[in-house]
């Protein structure tokens, strides 16, 4: 009697301590989650604050005259004429007309530097699209140079950055701004152009298409092979040392650092099979090899989770093993397999290390049109921009990160949705 009383007392006295320990433990969890959220929040707000500027570009209003004599064009069908024509004279004459006091050669150069140096080509494209403009003049908004863009954006924020400009240039810009001829406009170039070394002309379309081509190939190669391997290992393979050995290897491969796959691609696909560097074919092959283990592992997990009763019922009804797998097990496991594939693809989308070895970390200005044209991918584009000296690339870098993140979030959400929507609980 006294013994159990003592025990009860001991328990009661320890109770306070145990409650406190539990509370502390729960607090640790809350703090951990809060720290994680804080880090994500800091990262996202930093990226968004730095990158939001990239979605707008500075434009300046000028009157451009498509002077036939200045250009030296009389026949639009003559390619040679179009190449030789002095397209830059179009915006240069417009700038001169607005600032007639600028006479010295050095000053004129500074004046022309106000607008983006791709403007000549832009005006050429405009004229070719609408030949009736020849001989006419129009008031048009011209894309500003990146230094001007930085100046104007910092001016709007209250503290103008003029270190890259001369006093004359600042004066001209103040004049333009004073007459409402400078404005920010949605930066469409960012979404429908390829890479450029001029920040104001650089866009992510080349990288997005490159990523798309590479991922399509990765999916085409790794998805069927991965499922076939998973089905064989789960449904047909005998359980012996060999299959165990293979299983261990697959699990190991899933944890191998991705740069190793790049070295493998360099040694086998480029040096042995002589596939050219830098094209989506080689990128797709390397990334497919990289994502295979992930797809095999998740597919096997999905196939095992289909209850044995379904297999037994199918076999009992007289189905062959082949039919049992293809008609029953595979369709039921498919949501799980797809989820795994999407997550594998998302990982492949964010990968740069294996691509370094196979030449996809390169400056490629043209937007790739096929699997065999040089291409780069989104994360590589981010890396290249982050490394560029021009400060206007800082905002481009953050904006490209936003685009990459939204693709990744989209893919992960669709994986979650697929699982919620299609997966069956047994």
């Amino acid at each position: 009697m006294s013994n159990s009383n003592r025990n009860l007392k001991r328990i009661q006295s320890s109770l306070v301590w145990r409650y406190r320990a539990e509370k502390a433990f729960r607090w640790c969890g809350v703090v951990a989650v809060a720290l994680g959220l804080l880090a994500v929040l800091a990262l996202f707000s930093d990226i968004i604050i730095k990158g939001k500027g990239a979605f707008f570009a500075t434009y300046m209003q000028f009157e451009v005259t498509y002077d036939q004599e200045l250009l030296g064009i009389d026949n639009f069908a003559d390619d040679q004429q179009l190449i030789i024509a002095d397209w830059e004279s179009l915006y240069k004459s417009a700038l001169r007309a607005d600032f007639p006091d600028v006479r010295k050669r050095a000053d004129k150069r500074k004046l022309y530097a106000l607008v983006s140096d791709g403007t000549g080509y832009d005006l050429k494209a405009r004229l070719l699209a609408d030949p009736k403009l020849l001989g006419q003049s129009e008031i048009i908004w011209l894309l500003a140079d990146d230094d001007i863009d930085t100046y104007f954006k910092t001016l709007l924020d209250g503290n103008a950055y003029t270190a890259r400009l001369t006093d004359n240039q600042v004066e001209w810009l103040e004049q333009l701004d004073g007459t409402e001829r400078m404005r920010l406009q949605f930066n469409a170039n960012f979404f429908n152009r390829g890479d450029s070394r001029e920040p104001e002309q650089a866009g992510i379309k080349g990288a997005v298409i490159g990523s798309l081509l590479t991922l399509v190939l990765t999916l085409i190669l790794s998805f069927p092979i991965g499922i076939a391997a998973a089905i064989y290992l789960e449904e047909f393979a005998p359980k012996n040392r060999w299959t165990e050995f293979i299983e261990v290897n697959i699990n190991n491969l899933a944890a191998v650092p991705s740069i190793i796959f790049g070295l493998l691609g360099l040694a086998i696909f480029i040096n042995f099979f002589h596939i050219p560097r830098s094209i989506p074919v080689i990128g797709g092959l390397v990334l497919a090899v990289m994502t295979l283990p992930t797809i095999i592992i998740t597919s096997r997990a999905a196939i095992t989770s289909v209850p044995p009763s379904i297999r037994e019922a199918a076999l009992g009804m007289g189905a062959s093993r082949n039919q049992m797998v293809l008609h029953h097990v595979l369709p039921l496991a498919l949501p799980g397999i797809l989820t795994g594939a999407i997550i594998g693809m998302a990982r492949a989308l964010g990968e740069t290390a294996p691509l370094l070895m196979i030449g996809m970390v390169a400056f490629i200005a043209d937007i790739p049109g096929s699997f065999t044209e040089p291409a780069t991918v989104l994360p590589v584009q981010i890396f290249l921009w982050a490394d560029s000296p021009e400060r206007a690339f800082i905002e481009k870098t953050s904006a490209a990160i936003m685009v990459l993140l939204s693709f990744l979030i989209l893919m992960n959400i669709s994986a979650v949705w697929l699982r919620k929507r299609l997966e069956r609980r047994w």
Binding site: I83, R109, A113, D117, G118, Y121, Y161, A163, R164, S196, R197, E198, I220, L221, P224, I270, F273, H274, I275, P276, R277, S278, I279, V281, G359, V361, A362, F363, I364, A365, D366, F371, T372, E373, P374, A386, D387, S388, P389, E390, R391, I394
Partner: protein, 352 residues
């Protein structure tokens, strides 16, 4: 629905087709090499692509050494056409090229790049000599008597030179894999090293020992390897006004509001001072062309013509706007003539 056999054969034939078509002749010029020349090479490539309407040359930044290795691997469309380099081709690389059948190589010296030591504009401007730099950053420095070496004991700039502030030495710079580091060590450290009499004498008698002393940077934490990304160093300098950073001139040019270049041997790092070579830490930039590829891969001739045109590499050309320091006009003229005439290296050049 497709049968499995059909599906299989379709996949195989598609992949064969892809690989097959890719392995045939190349339309795009392939350039590899130095990440220092990369920002200039890419601008030329882009301008050439836009003005000619031909495919834009593809530029990979593999580093000078990596580029040479790829370039010298052989002749044929699987090998690059041009390699960029932030130093001259080495004798060993030239021989490697010859062995692999890359016999005719055209060397083009395009300009210069300055390397700057900079600190935040929030800090006091600083002026250093190359000797100060050597004494502050070398792993081992001369001791009390000639011929004696001690582990670098200096922790503040005043320890190095009484005229300098008493701030702690804290320098952020590139890792050993970087070409910028190679050039910095060779030009700044070695330059300072030579100002010490017995070390200069050592250079004559034992070149290897001299190099080991002059080229080894301290590893006790006062020199911080900050990665290959120069933008990162600029950002770190903003956050830490006491530190100095080592990076390329174009990054100083772009970030003049946040960082300020140190005067070296009382010369400030400016466009003009690097061009007339009064600023001591500048290095030559090169690219090398495989003559056997000219005319086979379309666009090589056009690309090199664009690169060697006055509007690109001239005193007022667009490369100067990007921070490259041009050659003197006379050398530009002869180089352009030789390059366009595809005059190959003879092997008698003073290669190291």
């Amino acid at each position: 629905m497709l049968g499995h056999k059909q599906l299989q054969s379709a996949i195989i034939s598609v992949s064969l087709l892809l690989v097959g078509s890719a392995a045939s002749a190349r339309e795009t010029v392939e350039v590899v090499g130095s990440s220092t020349v990369y920002p200039f090479s890419t601008v030329v490539a882009e301008r050439y692509g836009r003005s000619s309407g031909k495919p834009t040359p593809k530029i990979e930044a593999t580093g000078s050494g990596g580029g040479m290795k790829l370039f010298c691997s052989g002749v044929g469309t699987n090998f690059p056409d041009i390699t960029n380099s932030s130093r001259r081709m080495k004798k060993s690389e030239f021989d490697q090229c010859q062995r692999n059948g890359v016999e005719e190589i055209i060397e083009v010296h395009v300009g210069f790049d300055g390397i700057v030591l900079a600190n935040s504009v929030a800090a006091q401007p600083i002026a250093l000599t190359r000797k100060d730099i050597f004494l502050a950053l070398a792993a081992r420095v001369p001791g009390a008597s000639d011929g004696q070496l001690i582990d670098n004991p200096y922790t503040t700039w005043r320890d190095v030179n009484p005229n300098l502030p008493a701030d702690p030495i804290e320098v952020m710079g590139p890792p050993p894999t970087s070409g910028t580091r190679d050039a910095f060590v060779e030009l700044a450290m070695e330059g300072g090293c030579q100002e010490i009499a017995w070390l200069e004498a050592l250079k004559e008698s034992d070149k290897l020992a001299f190099k080991i002393i002059c080229h080894t940077i301290r590893e006790d934490g006062l020199y911080i390897e900050a990665g290959e990304n120069d933008n990162l160093i600029v950002q770190k300098l903003q956050a830490n006004p006491r530190a100095l950073g080592i990076f390329g001139f174009s990054f100083l040019d772009q970030n003049a509001d946040t960082v300020r270049g140190a005067r070296i041997d009382s010369v400030a790092p400016e466009f003009e001072s690097i061009a007339d070579k009064s600023y001591p830490i500048s290095r030559p930039l090169y690219f090398y062309i495989k003559k056997a590829h000219v005319g086979v891969v379309p666009g090589i001739q056009g690309f090199i013509n664009e690169f060697t045109s006055e509007k690109a590499w001239g005193d007022e050309g667009y490369l100067a706007d990007k921070g490259m320091i041009p050659l003197p006009q006379a050398s530009r003229r002869t180089t352009a003539k030789n390059t366009r005439g595809l005059v190959a290296m003879t092997g008698d050049e003073a290669l190291k």
